[in-house]
Symmetry: C2
């Protein structure tokens, strides 16, 4: 029998639609940029705001300090004998820069063409908040939940979740759950609900090249002093071979080749390279030879320059030989690569190729393990039924090129399956200017999650 | 007979030493950063200040507009039948950034350990102003000058002197001179007066690489979209071969090998690689194989990265696949390379190596021809005698890695020999934080130039 979104819950969400939109607006206005110390107070304010809302709807809520940003832990344990499900999300957001590329200011949420534009709209405040609202619907309409629920929201996802895994490990008994549900990913296409079963990991580095002790006149010294910016360019260029494969020795050693059955399912998804290219605005696609675009994104590791800075970057010309050059470089990882192993390989590679005349340091800023789940089990099927109930069609299985490092941590520490039920959409500009979340997906997402609790109660 | 600094002029300069220092302080406080439009008013103010001072000492002075910053032209033509000498300098300065690396603020001149620290102290306001003061000494003490003098100061030297050569060409009759004297370079060592007879030229480029239309999430897109920062690194790295030679096709075709006699004179100068390295703070020196450090700096062309900018460069980690990447790249040129030819070679090279999936543009921001003079002629010898009189020893002949593009222009347009009589010193941080000029060289430089007019009057 096909599941449905319970009518009483749907009615509650419809009735309170405007109020909910207003609450989300308030949440998004808080610039909780975890990477920036000048936003520490804002990040704390977002945690407090979320905690107050969880308390208001009937959850027993705490804001628990960590050595970094706090964790919001909200619990409802009124269903003894029933399963316990942990919902994870994050209330911190990416930096909004470059600000001049936003059509409307990043922390002034604005709806245009059915899209809610704001930093954090889809990553992850909107997706976290629709969970809060689905829980509110159950508690407000029925005074109870079908299962026990732990909602855990951290404020350091965008800076590597340094304190989350230790927190989960320390509180493993309290956080013991039969499943973990996370909405921090995208559907494969509009109207096509998706369950994610593969995530890439991450190893993020900062490479600093120091040449002379201070900036020099490029005329008076150029040609005899090694230029750190040119040295950095050589180091970065050496990370790829001429065909587009990563040339860091040992980089692919731990990479598993995916089963042909899974590769076939990926190839069967409705995907068009030219549409994808046009969406990015790139002149042409590229990448590792021998793989399709989706395989490159979901099943293969990569190495990206995320930032470059050296010397004079202002208007006009300045003939400076820079003292230093910096690159932010990150590798996306796939099973069974680990950030620790990639850090060793990266540092060995840079040490090998760094030219004489400069001093190079490679700092590992943060990392996360890659993850692959299994598309089965009662909670996975409950999620499938709930998504079908809300969206009117069965979900597809997808991979994701991005990282949610905590997924592997939850699975490892709690021993529970992780269900990745995302409501973002392709092109949503997570981590870029003009980030948006589909207003419809927010609405349907609340209904889907409300239906999920109903289905989970039947397990 | 050995020349001397005339006692009456020396006495005047000694008597007015404190006043002169105060005037120079006021001149240096004007942030005449020609590269920055927000300093346009300051740059104009520096021109007006200089013109007022030239008028005060008795020169017929005009501030003549150009399409950019104005030219200060100050003349004294009271010696009919005598030669005419044109003194050139510039009142604009380099940008001062990065400000946090200055020990004292760049536009608050401060003397420490006999060094006058300020942006523009040595490049070129201090060296220009000592000429004004040497002229003042003659005019104040004797009411006359031994030769006719034209002092021409421009405000665009640090941005390529775009309007100077057209100005000189247009006013060639008025600017007709028997010699041109410029103090905008350094002595080879403290106490060792120097006459410069070789300057490198310049071709300065900005390379812009555009990938996707906007910044993308490096997880969701990384591996399938060509990364413009990595593309830029590959382009830059391709400009050198493994041995340190420039690998841009045709780059060395016009480069003349210097005569062995000249190379021998360069090698005979008191120069120590380890001292030079220690002065720069670099871990090791480098450069084109087969040449000494001074030959690399004075006789060989180079290619330097002056600036890099792409993606996220702030604190912490941001997993962005940047939309674009920018490099400022400049080549120092030697005879008979030209900026125009190097621009063609650079553009052809970048077009050849640019990877698919990005759009690359190479913009030539400005350029200047290299120059080599001949160490002979009456004005050259007058300068030699004047420097020996002031410093107590004969000058050495030196080359210079930096560019004063106007030198070639003056020689070509006016057909007059150019005498390069610099009073800077190695390590003076021109174009870098903590720029300084030796207080002693400023003082002795005024005397040397005063003596030069005396010697020139005897030609």
């Amino acid at each position: 029998m096909t599941a449905t979104v319970p009518a009483d819950l749907k009615a509650f969400l419809d009735t309170h639609d405007a109020r909910i939109a207003g609450e989300l607006d308030a949440f998004l206005r808080i610039p909780s940029v975890s990477a920036r110390t000048e936003h520490d107070a804002d990040t704390r304010r977002a945690a407090d705001w979320l905690a107050a809302e969880c308390t208001r709807i009937g959850l027993a809520t705490e804001v628990i300090p960590t050595a970094g940003h706090p964790i919001v832990l909200a619990e409802w344990r009124g269903a003894p004998g029933k399963p316990t499900v942990l919902v994870y999300g994050h209330y911190d957001v990416q930096p909004a820069e470059p600000l001049d590329l936003w059509t409307s200011p990043p922390f002034e949420p604005t709806v245009r063409d059915g899209k809610l534009f704001a930093r954090g709209s889809v990553d992850d405040k909107g997706q976290l908040y629709l969970h809060v609202k689905a829980l509110e619907a159950h508690l407000a309409v029925r005074g109870t939940l079908p299962v026990n629920v732990i909602l855990l929201a951290e404020g350091e996802e965008e800076v590597g979740s340094e304190h989350l895994a230790p927190f989960v490990a320390e509180h493993a008994a309290r956080l013991k759950a039969d499943a973990v549900v996370i909405s921090d990913s995208a559907m494969f296409a509009p109207g096509l609900p998706s369950l994610l079963f593969a995530l890439r990991g991450l190893a993020y580095f900062e490479i600093n090249v120091q040449g002379p002790a201070q900036d020099l006149h490029s005329g008076s010294y150029g040609g005899a002093v090694v230029n750190p910016a040119m040295a950095l360019a050589k180091i970065l260029a050496s990370m790829f071979d001429a065909e587009g494969r990563i040339a860091i020795a040992g980089f692919y050693d731990a990479v598993k080749t995916w089963e042909e059955t899974v590769r076939a399912r990926i190839r069967a998804l409705p995907f068009n390279d030219e549409h994808f290219r046009a969406e990015t605005g790139s002149p042409a696609l590229g990448g590792e030879p021998g793989f399709t675009t989706l395989e490159r994104l979901w099943t293969r590791p990569t190495c990206e320059v995320n930032g470059l800075l050296s010397g004079y970057t202002g208007e006009g010309a300045k003939t400076v030989l820079p003292a230093k050059a910096m690159a932010k470089v990150s590798c996306r990882l796939v099973p069974d690569q680990t950030p620790e192993a990639i850090q060793r390989l990266m540092q060995a590679h840079v040490a090998k190729v760094a030219p004489k005349g400069v001093t190079v340091t490679v700092t590992h800023l943060h990392g996360g393990n890659p993850w692959r789940g299994e598309p089965e089990g009662p909670f996975f099927h409950a999620a499938s039924r709930a998504l079908e109930a809300a969206f009117g069609r069965a979900p597809v299985l997808t991979g994701e090129g991005g990282s949610i490092p905590v997924v592997g941590d939850f699975q490892r520490i709690l021993g529970a399956p992780v269900i990745l039920m995302g409501f973002g959409l392709p092109g949503e500009n997570a981590h870029a200017p003009d980030e948006w979340m589909s207003v419809e997906n927010f609405t349907v997402g609340m209904r889907a999650v409300a239906a999920f609790w109903e289905e989970a109660g039947r397990i």
